[in-house]
Every structure is written in C-alpha cells, then in structure tokens.
C-alpha cells in the first residue's frame, strides 16, 4: 500500500512535469550535461589509467629493471668516424648485483641486437634477445608451442631459438616449424618454441621488456656468436658500440623492498661507473605514481563535475521557485482541502527529484555514448564501471533533493488564505 502510494505520487509528479514539456526539458538540461560529462570523463579517465596500470603490470611488480643507456657525451662523440663508444652494464656489474644483495629471488641478464633472420624463403629483421631461462620467469608469457630456454641450453651452448607469436607469424613459422632451422645473422639455430607476444609499448617512461618481434637465444651463445661490439648504420656512416649487457632484470622477494634494493644498486653502480650510462626503473614505483596521478585526476574531474552539477541544481531550484510562485493558488487550494505542509513539501520535492533523475538518466545515456564514440574514432580505451554509472545517478537524485528542498519548503509556507485570493 505504501509502495503504491509512492509510485502514485511519482506518477502525479511526472504528469505535472509533462504539462510543461519544454520547460521541464530545459530545466533538466543542466543536469543532463552535468551527469553526461561526469560519466564520459570518468570512463575516459578510468580507461586511460587502466591502460597505464596494465602496462606497468606487464613489467612485473616485483621487478627492478636496470638498463644500459648511452651517455650524452658519447652521443655527441659518435658523430666522428671510427669512434667506438663503450658504455653500459658489464658482466662484472651483473655478478655484483647477483651476489651482493639479499632478498633478490632471480635475475636475468639481457643482450639485445637486431639481426636479419631467415626461415626458408621468409626473411625479416628480428630483435635478438640473449638471455637466461630466468627471463621467462621474470617476463612470464604463455608458451604456445614447444618449450622455452632451459639451463642445459646455457651449459651446452646449444644454438636454440624461441620465437614470439607475432614474429613467428611474420616469417610463417607454425607449430610444425619446431625443430627446423632458422638463420639469425648468418648462424643457424634450431627453433624450439613459440611464446605469446605482448603488444610492445611504453609504461610510464620505460619500455616493456619484450617486443613483438623478439627471438630468444641463450646469452652465452649470443656472446660467443655475436660478441659485444655492435655496428649500426647511421647518417655519418657506421657507428660502433661496445655494450656487454643491455639490461639486467632483477626480481625481489618482497615488493616492499623493491625501491630500497633499487637505491642500493644505483649507489653501487655509481661507484663503478664514471659516467651515468645506466638507468634503473622500478615498476612498483611507477605503479604508485600512476595511482597517485589517477587520484589527482579523479579529484580534478570530481571538482569539475561538482561544479557542473551545482550549476544544474541551481537551474532546477530557480525554475522550481518560479513554479511555486506560479502555482501559489494551487497550493492554497490543496491546503484548504486539507493537505498538510509535509504533503506539499513532498509533492514539490518529488517533482524536483523526478526532474533531476530523468535528467540524470538522459545524461547517463549521453555520457555512455561519448566514450563509445571516442573509442571508435580515436582507439583510446574507455571503461564504463558500475560506480561510474551509479555515482552520477545517485548524485543527480541527491541534487533533486538538495535543490528541491528550498522551493518545496517555500511552497509549504504559503498561507492558504492569501493564496486563495492570489490571482
């Protein structure tokens, strides 16, 4: 019974609003755009931060990534011919990192180079990653066929190669290719496995460790076959670099210790390197940073949303006050018949809440459409969460109550004697 009474009151409110369709629609507009922009902004923001968090997660939250970087001075010197720049992490650095710090679970040294590769008639340039079996623990990817590197490959200096899904598809390698021979930089390797590849990309300011066109070979093999000196074709001729290790990935036992361990490694490297030819990144720190950014972003969005909804609410209040004045006589009649003040308040409050909630619903539709269009045209990821829907909806109802209360109380204060004479 109580339920039906409320429904009936809501219907009466809707009927009344439908009497002035244009006015009701215009009144709603503020809330429509307020809620619409909130929903759209939240979903774009959520999408962007989810993308960033996803990238960082790919780096591994327990990992510390130490990379070799070419120092600035060498960058300038390398324009001269026959210059060879020597920089980056050394095998000694790697040994020190491996043995000097507690709490490190695993490490993987990485040598990177680009080599032309050929599988039967198909040839393309692959990124050769010389590393140890630990790589596959630190950068876990699904194995699609065959196997990954194993310790015996290291010891036996076996010329084996693990392809990535994307690279494999490019050179037409399939499951049947396992056991066949691939030529990398002129040397023959046996294809032993294919792993799933992740889209390469940036996470914060660091590169995801793996790329789409990787081929993994044992680091000892890489060192023996290809050495430490690399030539690159550049505008001024050939550029030569001597780099022992391009990257070292460390995994700590306890993610809480990641930043402290990274700092210790940094100060150790500082003692052995005259120039700063290395960079250390801690995905966990990036993660925290990304979360802090997201929080800040949300506060900014929240404030903008708050202001637009406030403006919408004031618009509603304004029209409702005008409506109360216009309907003074009606209020007087209802009061004379026996309506209590509370019933007049609820009548006007229901109208305002219905108005603002309808505005909220329309705004929600609009706000859900915009991210779809953004995703469709720009490819940016957008995420519409349940919170992103419910929050603006509840806020729009709240606005109806908040900004409807004053006009409703204004209506209830109308003196029936005066109102009945009101023309």
């Amino acid at each position: 019974m109580q339920q039906t009474r409320i429904t009936r009151n809501i219907w009466l409110g809707i009927e009344n609003l439908l009497l002035h369709k244009l006015r009701s629609f215009l009144t709603m507009l503020g809330v429509v755009f307020g809620v619409g922009s909130v929903v759209a902004m939240l979903s774009v923001g959520e999408g962007a931060s989810k993308e960033a968090l996803e990238q960082i997660r790919k780096l591994g939250s327990n990992n510390i990534i130490v990379s070799s970087t070419k120092p600035v001075e060498d960058e300038m010197a390398s324009t001269q011919h026959s210059h060879m720049s020597i920089f980056g992490l050394t095998y000694d650095d790697y040994a020190r990192m491996m043995h000097s710090y507690g709490g490190i679970r695993q490490t993987a040294p990485v040598k990177l180079m680009r080599k032309d590769s050929r599988l039967r008639e198909r040839a393309m340039e692959l990124r050769v990653v010389g590393t140890t079996p630990q790589w596959f623990d630190l950068v876990p990817r699904d194995v699609l066929a065959g196997r990954v590197l194993v310790p015996s490959d290291q010891k036996g200096l076996s010329p084996v190669a693990v392809l990535t899904e994307f690279g494999a598809r490019k050179i037409l390698a399939t499951e049947n290719t396992i056991g066949q021979t691939i030529t990398i930089g002129g040397d023959s390797f046996e294809v032993v496995g294919i792993v799933k590849s992740e889209e390469s990309g940036q996470a914060g300011n660091i590169q995801i460790p793996d790329q789409e066109v990787d081929v993994y070979i044992p680091i000892e093999v890489a060192r023996q076959y290809f050495g430490d000196i690399f030539s690159k074709r550049s505008s001024g001729g050939f550029e030569r670099e001597k780099v022992e290790l391009h990257q070292v990935i460390l995994q700590v036992e306890d993610p809480k210790r990641a930043e402290a361990t990274a700092a210790a490694i940094e100060s150790m490297l500082g003692r052995f390197h005259k120039k700063k030819d290395y960079a250390i990144s801690v995905p966990l720190a990036l993660l925290k940073q990304a979360e802090a950014t997201k929080r800040r972003f949300n506060i900014v969005l929240g404030s903008i949303a708050g202001i637009s909804l406030l403006v919408g609410g004031i618009g509603i209040m304004n029209i409702m006050l005008a409506s109360v004045t216009e309907r003074t006589r009606e209020i007087g009649i209802r009061r004379a018949i026996g309506a209590k003040r509370g019933q007049i308040i609820s009548q006007f409050l229901i109208e305002t809440v219905v108005l603002s909630t309808m505005g909220g619903l329309i705004g929600l539709g609009l706000g859900a459409l915009i991210p779809l269009l953004i995703t469709h045209f720009s490819g940016m990821a957008t995420v519409l969460t349940l919170n992103g829907i419910l929050l603006p909806l509840f806020i729009s109802m709240g606005i109806g109550i908040l900004f409807g209360l004053y006009p409703a109380m204004h209506a209830a204060r109308v003196d029936p004697i005066v109102a009945l004479r009101h023309e």
Partner: protein, 244 residues
C-alpha cells in the same frame, strides 16, 4: 455585549466563545473579531452578511480552520480547535469541512475527475475507489459526462458544480460557501443555490458568506456583522437586534 451562544449542546456543530482575532497593521491593532460568541446547530443553513471590513471574511477563515483565534475558544463538533497546530487544523479541514469559493478554485491542469478526487487523495483512498466516488459525485451534480474535461473547457456554472462535487468528496459535516454565486449569472446562481438547499435538506450544515440579501434569503439564519462584532441575527425572517 450579548452572548449569542446558548449553553453548550451536542447539537452545536460550531461554537465560538468570546472569539478575538487581532491583526497587527503597522503600529495599529485591528480587531477583525472583537469578542464574538455564537453557536450554529447541526444541519442549519447560515448566511454571514456584512459590509467589507465587518469581519465576515475573518469569521469564515476562523470557522473554516484556515486561521486561528488570538484569544477565545472555537469548538468544532464539540472539539476545541482554537489551539491546534497547523497539521491538526489541516486534518480537521480534510475530515470535517468542504469549501466552495466565488472563483471556483479548481486546479486548472487537472481534469474534472482529478479535481473531485483531490480530498480523497489526501485521505489516502486508492485510485479505483477514488475514481468511482468521483464519478458518483459528478453524476450527482449533473456532470457525469465531463469527467475527463479540464476546468477551462467548462462554463462558470459547471465549474462551480465541480467545486461542489469536490467539497462533497470527503462527506463533510460542514460546507463553507464564500460568495458561491458571485461570478455567475442570476439563473445559474439560482441553480447553484438550489443545489446547496438540497444538500442542506440532506443534513449538511452550510455556512455561506454573501453580501446580497436575496441570496442570503436561502439561509434559515442570517448573521449580520459590523466592526468585528455581531450586529444582529435574523432567524426565519425574525430580526433580533442584539447590540443595542
């Protein structure tokens, strides 16, 4: 000052005891009611008359529970309502009273049916019952075929009939009619008055405010007011000049 209220009786629907209503107009106090004592019997038909400023509107507002006395007592059907709060007065209006106004006071955006249903809505009736009662009442005042019309589509006489149907919806004991024929031509006005007569015959107490003597003649009792006091009361044509 002479007391027009006889000894309290259960036959009284309305009873005022030294009723005062004082308005503050700037620095001046206006005694709209300056100590009125009177009682109306159940089932009677009263006309309240008097020039403007005589206090007849105030009298109507007080009796109609739309306003409260500054001092004195007002008993409605034996219950002292002089000190009730706003909500309780609303409750009394809802259950005991019906109002008919000079300007009809229908709600323009509501249909005839919805207008008649209004008191039932506040009484908490369900939609089906209300609709049935509204149809019944509309038929009673001869507007059974106009239920879905809006007030603006009706003539003055029809609007006043709707107002009467609305005033009857809660089956009130007491009906107030404030210049009910003021906006109507003589013939239509006469029909409305006949309707009031009929209601009175059916047992409703009617209190009508008017300044036209021939309209007041429909009432059994005429109460003439002057300067916030009862000037005289005429019962069935017999004037009793009480103030002098």
């Amino acid at each position: 000052m002479i007391d027009h209220a006889t000894e309290p009786s259960s036959q009284d629907i309305v009873r005022l005891e030294s009723a005062h209503k004082i308005y503050q107009m700037g620095m001046e106090e206006v005694h709209a009611l300056a100590g009125v004592s009177v009682s109306f019997k159940k089932g009677s038909f009263w006309a309240i008359m008097g020039p403007s400023g005589s206090g007849k509107s105030t009298m109507m507002n007080i009796l109609g529970c739309l306003d409260r006395l500054t001092s004195g007592r007002y008993y409605l059907d034996g219950k002292d309502v002089s000190q009730l709060d706003d909500d309780s007065l609303s409750e009394f209006r809802l259950r005991y009273l019906g109002f008919i106004f000079q300007s009809f006071n229908l709600i323009p955006q509501l249909t005839v049916q919805r207008n008649i249903e209004l008191p039932l809505y506040y009484l908490g009736w369900d939609a089906v019952e209300s609709a049935r009662r509204a149809k019944e009442l509309a038929e009673e005042v001869g507007l059974g075929d106009r239920l879905s019309h809006r007030p603006t589509e009706l003539s003055g006489g029809q609007m006043q009939r709707v107002a009467i149907a609305r005033a009857l919806a809660n089956d009130p004991q007491l009906i107030f009619a404030d210049e009910p024929t003021g906006n109507l031509d003589t013939a239509t006005g006469e029909q409305i008055l006949e309707l009031l007569d009929k209601l009175n015959e059916e047992g409703k107490t009617i209190i009508m405010v008017t300044h036209e003597a021939d309209i007041a003649d429909h009432a059994q009792n005429k109460l003439h007011m002057k300067d916030g006091l009862i000037d005289r009361i005429e019962s069935n044509g017999h004037a009793t000049d009480e103030n002098h």
